[in-house]
Amino acid sequence: MSENLLLVPVFLPIAVGVLVFFIPKMVKGVREALSLLTAAIAFVVVFLIFRMEESHLFISIIEIGDFNLHLDLLSAPLASFILLFATGFGLLISLFSASYMAGKERYKEYYGYFLFALGGTAGVFLANHFLLFLIFWEMVTASLYFLITTGEPRAREGATKSFAMIGASDACLLMGVGILWFLNRTFVISDINLPAEGWLPVLAFLLLMVGSITKAGAVPMHTWIPTASEGAPASVMAYLPAALDKLLGIYLLVMISTKIFVLGYSLGLVLMIIGAVTIIAAVMFAMVQHELPKLLSYHAVSQVGYMVLGIGTLTPIGIVGGLFHMLNNSIYKSCLFLCGGSVEKKSGSNELGDLGGLSRSMPITFITALIAALAISGIPPLNGFASKWLVYQGVLETGKGGSFIFLIAAMFGSALTLASFIKVIYSVFLGQKSKYTEKVTGDSGFAMVFPVVVLAILCLFFGIFYRFPVEQFIAPGVGVSLTPMGIWESPLATILLIAGIALGLIIYWIGRAMRSVRTADTFVGGEKIEAETIRVEGTYFYDTIKELPLMEKFYLSEEKGHFDLYILFGKLRAWITGALQFLHNGILSTYLSWSLLGIIVLLCLSIFLL
């Protein structure tokens, strides 16, 4: 009986998703309610699954010779722990969407795809058969595509690019799964374990790795995330690229580097290099962005670097750190995207230059965004620090001479992240009001505020009591025990920090009370000036980075798409197509001579070979 429970989080959302498409246009509010209810049920059921023993459901579907496809679901501890988060995000973002998507043109389909993505994600985490895994994985991809298209008309670029790039990685995944079958003669995930030695296993690992890092969005397969952020609804960005896709991609990466393959040092090094490059490159791009969603999406890429770096260390603490960072990242990154969505909904713009001074009119959003921004920058005692701390330890533990480079890269990236978020916080919430933000009077409604508050509280909780999830769930899930975890006593440090901040505040208040200050309007030459003309945009300071001598070339070629595999592949493809089109010149004689050539070749082959 209990194993039948595994079907619920997978097929309930899919079934309700289909149902949603058939609800007539007139009926309002039912879709939102259904989606919320389904996500809630899925969440509860996953919680039950998480609490019960490891259970296994097996229903045979297709068996043709050596080919088989079974409904083979397994609730492994790690997978169900991550799935708990995934459904939790589903629940929160479903609530957020109810308010955020209201009034948008295509919100009707939105919930259908939303639920498909949820069901697909649950399927990926529970699947114990590689083809089943692949089917659900691809379902998430397709849902992402359609979810992005529900945004503005310009979202079509991002949607196409996302589907194309993830589609490419899914193709790699399929090939990798095929080679794994060839090596092991089985599709059952839990039965596969082989050392990554020899060209075929290494090829299989690399193919699967491409699949996973594309989903998660690491360099060089990251470019779909920033493009998708242009025009896609903020809730979609928070839901898939920021949360679920990270969970899926990194989960697969952990699976292939710990359970499915036994990796050697060199493949680990490949992962570490990818991680380090991702951290630095993406954060460099992030700093100079002017659009809030695009900036956030570059950070979403940058943070993946830490996860890949942690897993690439191949040390228990590094892998656990990577996984923990994955969870933390999805928490604060969705929080940031949702805050961005909130701001956009209220002010009508997501250009950093257009915003400013929202801290007074949207205080809750400001505080949650601040917490999440500090968390992503790795400020103790928030969760981002805790997981980065584990990753650093993992890097150090590899003990090789080069590991210092990775450590420096990671820390440098963290510093740049902070720099970039100071810009965000300043441009959006501090400074003077702009013509967009002047009319904003109150914070968003409950449906949009509640999810971000929950996420911000989780940021704090996971930062202060980080030992609890790490020691209880993640480490056992990976199958390692962590003996030394550094000397970071988070609760104690938190108390000290709070005491320090409180002391600072008291001094500030006392100081302000003692001094008497006169305030006056700004004036030049006796004339008062319009507030608008002396507004300083936060983005302005960071444009200098673009003009640094070395950086200039780097940014220029990024803008031209020299680092974008999608564009490079497109060029190659266009060249081949052009050559072939040149051959098809429309003259019948040419075509006839090809046929003649074909006949001659075939005849010669058959006569001489037989």
């Binding site: 089109q581 429309g586 019948l588 003649l596």
Partner: protein, 115 residues
């Protein structure tokens, strides 16, 4: 030997279809190819000095079988000629329409569809 000549006829037709620019000549090339096939079929069933394959009541069947030509290819060729006629008619009709539209019989100028 005589089969080789059929093949040569086929090649002439193919050559005509490939190198000629006039669409009517291409159609003629097509019919040449078709006729070479028909000829080939007929020759397959031909027997030197054989009698026509018509059985009358007072004939010795074994002797008839030994001397008559094979009737089957003849039946086939009749059918195939009729089909060939249909195709050629259609081709010529299209040629006329093409001339009306493009004002030329030159195949290298009838190339709006390409790439």
């Amino acid at each position: 030997m005589i089969y080789t000549l059929c093949f040569v006829l086929f090649l002439i037709g193919l050559y005509c279809a490939i190198t000629k620019k006039n669409i009517v000549k291409i159609v003629i090339g097509l019919t040449l190819m078709e006729y070479s096939a028909n000829l080939f079929l007929i020759l397959l069933g031909y027997r030197k000095g054989g009698v026509a394959p018509i059985v009358s009541e007072n004939m010795n069947i074994t002797e008839f079988l030994a001397t008559s030509v094979d009737p089957l290819p003849q039946a086939l060729v009749l059918t195939s000629i009729v089909i060939g006629l249909g195709v050629t008619t259609l081709a010529i009709a299209i040629c006329i329409r093409l001339y009306e539209k493009y004002g030329t019989f030159d195949i290298t100028e009838i190339r709006r569809l390409k790439g």
